[in-house]
Symmetry: C2
Subunit: 95 residues, 2 copies
Amino acid sequence: MTGVVARLEKTAITPAGVPRQRFWLEHRSRQEEDGHPREVQVRLAVVLVGRKAELIQGLKEGQNVRVTGFLSRAGYKGEARDRVQLIAETLVPLD
Amino acid sequence: MTGVVARLEKTAITPAGVPRQRFWLEHRSRQEEDGHPREVQVRLAVVLVGRKAELIQGLKEGQNVRVTGFLSRAGYKGEARDRVQLIAETLVPLD
């Protein structure tokens, strides 16, 4: 998914000592829905775990990036169960 | 995305008279996170708009399906802004 880095958060360290870096990605594109063009917006939490957290170095809010990875629920209790996040496998700055 | 139809909702009709059918998809898979295997779960709202709503016919809760489409925010106000849904382009039963 491509998008703009909307908000960078502080790096967190899990109880097992693993760094977890989260940022918010805003994606906009035009898609076709039932035969009609439509503007699409998505705001998605992207999480970088362990060594991947280093990919964030030098990244700035407002920068365009491309992220690949897999979707995962944000947690296992309460409303986090239904919240979706992207666990990043690659992160490439586009500007 | 593949998954199980967790909950089928009633078909809604928009003010413009367009049918919108929503169901909840539960996906489980094993992925690699920072070099370690990990079980991944995602619970995602899937929305079928207009003629696509017909794809739901005969579909039952508990059935395995494959869905393709694009991610979109669920709404433009409040917490819906940060909720992600999948606008379906194809829906194929797997059993």
